[in-house]
């Protein structure tokens, strides 16, 4: 459903209520009844909390004493808050690497696993598995793999002749790359499935025709696969960007924001501000900033859509 269709639906046909027939009214009522369960959930668990959080971002509140209206104080404070700046920078750092690398990994996997081969489903399942596995278990295992002195990763590096391998999660410079690597590993299977469905929707005739015309496999990939996949890529890029800006769980269980503040990301900062420092107003202000950033990026992505996304 497109946004336009939806507008038509809620505004009742052409938006002219006088000419609405009885049948149309009946249809509208039916539509609302079917939408109701979802809308009620959306209202209670999403819309009302958003509005409240917006209101809260102008307050000072410790969850017990009465709220105090402070105007834009919370937002002004953001400008001088190192931890906020660091967490914003870390979130951008994380996203800038995670989004393209995950997309590349997912697309690569999808192309490899889009073959008619015996047991291909087993491989698809294997690569999808990290997405459904428990995050805490994953974090423990990866932490062990990257352990600075006993971990297999550093043992291999030492074997290869690197005398001083990085300290990974115990190093300020390497903690974030570890989070990025684990994040890509965990989510690429999910996006692989999306790419697989996109790949399978490409008509085989296009490839056959190109082959007849003498296009080699790289040319076929560049001129058929990539353009035909643009709607999927568009969807994946938006979902991934949003997921990246929301990252919390992985950081919380793997590094707890550390060492120091090296992996302190926005949502982690929001959590600490609210539930460790009991500054719910200030935490809401940070979440409003997060909301605005993600909204802006999504709008830009939608604007750019027309330029590069081709729907058949």
């Amino acid at each position: 459903m497109d946004l336009e269709d939806f507008k038509i639906l809620i505004e009742g046909g052409a938006g002219n209520s006088i000419t609405m027939t009885k049948q149309k009214v009946k249809n509208m009522a039916m539509a609302y009844i079917f939408l109701l369960p979802n809308l009620v959930g959306f209202l209670i668990f999403t819309l009302i909390p958003i509005v409240c959080s917006m209101g809260l971002s102008f307050m000072e509140w410790d969850s017990a004493n009465p709220m105090v209206f402070v105007g834009f104080e919370n937002f002004k404070r953001l400008w001088t808050d190192d931890t906020f700046k660091i967490s914003l920078w870390n979130t951008v750092y994380y996203s800038v690497f995670t989004v393209p690398l995950t997309m590349a990994a997912a697309l690569g996997l999808a192309i490899i696993l889009n073959q008619k081969m015996k047991g291909i489903n087993i491989f698809r399942t294997i690569f999808f598995f990290p997405h459904v596995a428990s995050l805490v278990a994953i974090a423990v295992v990866w932490n062990l793999l990257f352990h600075p002195t006993l971990g297999p990763v550093n043992n291999i590096l030492r074997f290869l002749g690197i005398a001083n391998p990085p300290g990974w999660t115990s190093s300020v410079d390497w903690a974030m790359p570890v989070i990025i690597i684990v994040s890509i590993w965990k989510s690429m299977g999910y996006y692989m499935i999306l790419y697989l469905s996109g790949l399978q929707a490409i008509p085989r005739e296009l490839y056959e025709a190109a082959k007849v015309d003498g296009a080699n496999s790289f040319q076929r990939f560049k001129s058929i696969t990539l353009p035909m996949l643009t709607p999927t890529t568009f969807f994946v890029s938006i979902m991934l960007t949003i997921a990246c800006f929301k990252v919390f769980d992985l950081v919380s269980v793997m590094t707890n924001g550390g060492p120091g503040r090296a992996t302190n990301v926005l949502v982690f900062n929001i959590y600490n501000t609210a539930f460790i420092n009991y500054e719910f107003g200030y935490a809401s202000a940070i979440s409003m900033i997060l909301f605005i950033i993600v909204l802006a990026i999504t709008i830009v992505q939608f604007r750019a859509e027309k330029k590069w996304v081709s729907y058949m």
Binding site: P49, D62, S63, A64, N65, T169, S170, V172, G260, Y278
Partner: protein, 447 residues
């Protein structure tokens, strides 16, 4: 399609907001509930007096962490119920990891739980700031409770000259050592009056071996509190915004770790999430400064066959000029909810838990109580499995509280722990780290 994306995004983004709101709605009900709760409390109190002769007992709720896995809660509750047949204790067991985030949420919702055990002091100060704990001074006075055996730990946790909890435990650090490793190295056991310089030299003598078989002379746990306490005294606390006094302590710890290599390094311990008991149980370390509660853990582990370490304990080392008989301690108070449904009964319960009857029972199970007199201390040192000389090791003259008695204690702790990380990992020099710590904390306190 587009709309679906938008909706998904909005849904995801507001998870955070939802948390805030659930608290918001919780809060609004607080004021509505408070009054009836207090009235109810008063009514129950009157009833309870008449009930002493018989009738249905009053039920109070007792909020505590890890009830099932801590050896003493159940014993204490049962002993109290036996002695007070007119009161029944209903236990609310909350997991230890989440306890400190759940308690503030619980109390903000206007809950009428009666007795709240305080797991960490930042929660205590913030609950007092939020006006959620009941001042106990009147009750102390009325009951005539002797406060001397708390050795000032009760005074230490007063805020605005009012007491909001009775100290149940009051832990400080001892030096635990592995007798077998000392005997093997042919070195005398540590004395009760040892300086950190002597400790450092001793650690060198006790370190031997290489690789996986290496025995470390010293073990220094990663908690910031297991470092900064050694610089503290009555003039140097962690909530003042000046941390230069920690410089010698960091020099000592980093020297032991990096130059002498007589202790496992911070990064390894931290990323490996190594529990402070692990290396000691496995006899990989000869000496470890750790809290008084560790004695009970070792005894239990030995009884279960998890370790066969032959251990002893002495007073923790001190810097030149510091008095070894002043301990830096951290109390665990038990408090009463301001909205408690049964404040009178709750007071009788915490009085039992935190004064001689409860303290003696606690000591008999191997844990040091905050209420310390000849009787409770003797009970503790006579627990089976306690090493010789334990009484001398734990006997001190007075306490300085480690905890910060300010409402922002949680946020201050977070900053200390972040900068501690960077100094210990070598990502910051000691001077820069202490400077940043001071700047960030001053900014927070002056806000």
């Amino acid at each position: 399609m587009k709309l679906k994306h938008l909706m998904k995004k909005t849904a995801a983004l507001t998870c955070i907001a939802a948390c805030g709101v659930s608290l918001l709605t919780g809060c609004s009900s607080t004021s509505a509930k408070t009054e009836p709760a207090e009235k109810q409390g008063a009514a129950q109190t009157e009833n309870s007096d008449t009930q002493k002769g018989g009738g249905a007992p009053v039920e109070i709720t007792f909020t505590v962490w890890d009830y099932g896995t801590t050896d003493y809660w159940k014993v204490l509750v049962e002993a109290f119920e036996k002695e007070n047949p007119d009161i029944k204790v209903k236990v609310t067991d909350i997991g230890g990891t989440d306890y400190d985030t759940k308690i503030p949420v619980l109390l903000s919702s206007g809950d009428t739980s009666d007795v709240i055990t305080i797991k960490s002091m930042p929660i205590y100060t913030s609950l007092v700031e939020k006006n959620q704990l009941m001042p106990l001074d009147d009750m102390v006075e009325k009951s005539g409770l002797d406060m001397a055996p708390y050795y000032g730990s009760d005074e230490g946790i007063k805020i605005g000259n009012q007491l909001y909890g009775l100290p149940f435990r009051n832990d400080y650090y001892l030096l635990y050592y592995n007798k077998t490793l000392f005997d093997k190295a042919g070195v005398d056991y540590p004395s009760n009056d040892m300086t950190w310089d002597e400790y450092r030299e001793l650690a060198k003598k006790l370190t031997s071996g290489e690789g996986n078989d290496k025995v470390y002379g010293s073990h220094l746990h990663t908690w910031p509190g297991s470092l900064y306490r050694w610089g503290m005294d009555k003039d140097h606390a962690m909530d003042k915004g000046d941390y230069q006094f920690l410089k010698p302590v960091y020099e000592l710890f980093l020297g032991i770790q990096n130059e002498d290599k007589t202790a496992m390094d911070y990064g390894t311990l931290k990323t490996g999430n190594v529990h402070y008991s692990g290396p000691f149980y496995k006899e990989q370390v000869a000496m470890e400064p750790m809290g008084t509660w560790f004695a009970n853990l070792i005894i239990n582990a030995k009884n279960k066959g998890e370790t066969s370490v032959e251990w002893g304990a002495a007073k923790a080392p001190h810097f030149e000029g510091q008095d070894p008989n002043i301990a830096i301690s951290n109390p665990t108070p038990i408090a009463i909810n301001k909205n408690a449904a049964h404040p009178e009964e709750a007071w009788r319960f915490i009085q039992f838990m935190c004064s001689e009857p409860g303290a003696d029972l606690l000591a008999s199970l191997g844990t040091l109580p905050a209420y310390q007199n000849e009787k409770t201390i003797n009970t503790l040192v006579n627990v089976e499995g306690m090493p010789e000389g334990f009484k001398e090791a734990i006997t001190v003259d007075s306490f300085v509280l480690e905890c910060q008695m300010i409402p922002q204690a949680g946020a201050v702790d977070k900053i200390i722990s972040e900068e501690h990380d960077l100094i210990m990992l070598g990502a910051e020099t000691i001077d820069d780290g202490l400077d940043n710590m001071a700047k960030r904390i001053q900014k927070l306190l002056n806000k």
